[in-house]
Amino acid sequence: MTDFLLLALLAGLGVALVSGPLGAFVVWRRMAYFGDTLAHAALLGVAAGLWLAIAPGLAVTLVCMLMALGLLALQRQHSLATDTLLGILSHSSLALGLIAMYLIPGARMDLEALLFGDLLAVTQGETLGIWITAVVVLALLHRLWTPLLAITVHEDLARVEGVKVGWVKTALMLTLALVIASAMKVVGVLLITALLVIPAATARRFATGPGQMAMLGSLAGMTAVCLGIAASWWWDTPMGPSIVLGAGLLFVLSLAWPRRHS
C-alpha cells in the first residue's frame, strides 16, 4: 500500500471516528440541515482564505464557527421558521462562495475537490489536524455527554435541573463546525452531512442506548471509509462519493437486520 493511500485511510478514519457520537446528536436533535448550512459556509471560508491570503484550513474553520454562532443567534428569533432560514443561508452562502471563487483573480481552485472531497491529496499536516480535532471533539463530547443528552431529551427539564443550556448548545454547534471544517477534505462540502447522518442512522438499528449508538456509529463510519477507499482503489471511482455510498450501502444492509424491540 502506498503512502498517500495510507494517509487517506488515516484521515478518513479520523473523521469517521468523531462523526459517530457527533452524528448521533445531529440525528437526535434533527440538525442535519444545520450541518448542510455549516458545510456550505465552508466553501465561503475557502474563498475568504484566498481573498485574505490566510491558510485555507484556518479560514474555513473560522468561517464555519462564525456561521455556527450566527445560526445559534438566529434560532432565538421566531419570525421565520428555522428550516426556511437555513435554506436561505445555506444556499446563499454556497452561491456566494462559488461566485467569490470565480471572481478571485488567478485562483485556480479544483471545484470538484471542494464539493466532493479530495482524500488522495490529503497532506500529513491535514491528517494530523483531523486527528487533533477528533481527539479534542471526542474529549469535549465525553465531558458534556450527560448535559448534552439531557437537553436533547427535554430542554426545560434540563434547565430546571441546572444545566447551562445555552453554553452546552454553543459547545455542540462549535464542535459541529470544527468537525465539518476538518472533514471537508475527506468528502467535500456537499457530502459531509451524509457522513454524520448515515452511520448514526445505521447504528440506530442495533443500539439499545445512546452511548452504544455513538460507538456503533463510529464503527459504521469507519467501515464505510474502508469500503469507499477500497472501491476507489479497485474501480477508480471518486473517493468521497464512494465513502458516502459505502455508508449508504451499510444502512440498506442494516434494514435487513431483524429489528430489536427498542
Partner: protein, 246 residues
C-alpha cells in the same frame, strides 16, 4: 407555617397578548396547591415563570432560600432515533442506579428500569417523569398536568400517589390540573386562573364560588362520582410490567 414560595404581582405578556395579569399567591411549606383554569389561562406560563424558564414583565417570585425544585413537564417527547431506557433517562438526573431504582419503586413501577422509554404507556411515562423529579430530593415539586394522557382510573391513582409523596417527603407541591373534582381530595389550596386569579381558597370553597361556575359552567357536575370507583390500580400497573417481560 413557613412560606416556601411568595409570588407577587406577576405580569406577563407574549406577542402583545396579556398572559398573566397581576398574579399573586403564597405557597406554605408542605402544602399542595393546584392551579386550574381553561386552556390559554396562563397556567403553564405561570409555572414557567416560577421555574425561572420565563422572565416576567413585572412582579417577583421569592423564596426564603434557594429551593431544590423537582419539575415534571407536561409531555415527554423523545425522538424515535434516540434509544433510551428508563434507567438511562433517570441517570440524566442522578447517575446512581440504586437511587434510580428506589425512585421507580416509590412511583410504583419498580420493574421498568430497563424498558425503553418509547415503549411506556401514558401512565408509566408520567410516573417515570415523577421519579426523575423525586431524584432531586425536592423541597418543591412542580407538576404540569401530571395526569396528562392517563385514563380516569389511572388519574386517581396518580393523585393518590402524589398525596402520598407529599406525606412521605413533606415537600410542597404546585400542580396544574384541568379538573378540580378529580384533584379535590389531593389538594390544600386551589387557584382558579384565567390570566388573573379568579378565585383562591380550599377546593370546597372554590368549587362553590360563582367565579368558578362562570369559568367552567355546569359540565363539572359530570365528574362528581369519580371517587366512588376503586379499581385495582396497582394491579394494572403490575400487569403492564409483566406483559413486557414475557
Amino acid at each position: 407555617m413557613s412560606t416556601l414560595l411568595d409570588v407577587r404581582n406577576l405580569c406577563l405578556s407574549l406577542g402583545g397578548r396579556s398572559i398573566l395579569d397581576n398574579v399573586s399567591f403564597t405557597l406554605p411549606a408542605g402544602q399542595i396547591l393546584t392551579l386550574i383554569g381553561p386552556n390559554g389561562a396562563g397556567k403553564t406560563s405561570l409555572i414557567r415563570v416560577i421555574l425561572g424558564l420565563q422572565r416576567p414583565d413585572s412582579g417577583s417570585v421569592a423564596s426564603p432560600r434557594p429551593l431544590r425544585i423537582g419539575y415534571m413537564p407536561q409531555k415527554l417527547h423523545i425522538d424515535a432515533t434516540l434509544p433510551l431506557t428508563v434507567g438511562g433517562f433517570l441517570a440524566l438526573a442522578d447517575r446512581d442506579r440504586g437511587r434510580c431504582r428506589d425512585a421507580l419503586a416509590r412511583v410504583e413501577i419498580p420493574r421498568l428500569l430497563d424498558q425503553p422509554v418509547s415503549a411506556l404507556s401514558g401512565g408509566e411515562t408520567q410516573r417515570v417523569l415523577l421519579a426523575r423529579a423525586l431524584l432531586r430530593k425536592p423541597e418543591l415539586l412542580v407538576l404540569d398536568e401530571p395526569v396528562q394522557g392517563v385514563d380516569v382510573n389511572g388519574q386517581e391513582a396518580l393523585y393518590r400517589l402524589i398525596t402520598r409523596i407529599r406525606a412521605e417527603t413533606g415537600c410542597a407541591i404546585l400542580m396544574v390540573s384541568h379538573d378540580l373534582h378529580l384533584v379535590m381530595a389531593a389538594t390544600d389550596q386551589v387557584i382558579c386562573l384565567n390570566r388573573h386569579v379568579c378565585c383562591h381558597g380550599t377546593p370546597e370553597a372554590v368549587s362553590a364560588s360563582a367565579a368558578y361556575t362562570e369559568l367552567f359552567g355546569a359540565r363539572t357536575a359530570l365528574y362528581t362520582h369519580h371517587h366512588d370507583h376503586e379499581h385495582g390500580l396497582h394491579g394494572d400497573v403490575a400487569r403492564c410490567a409483566d406483559h413486557r417481560h414475557d
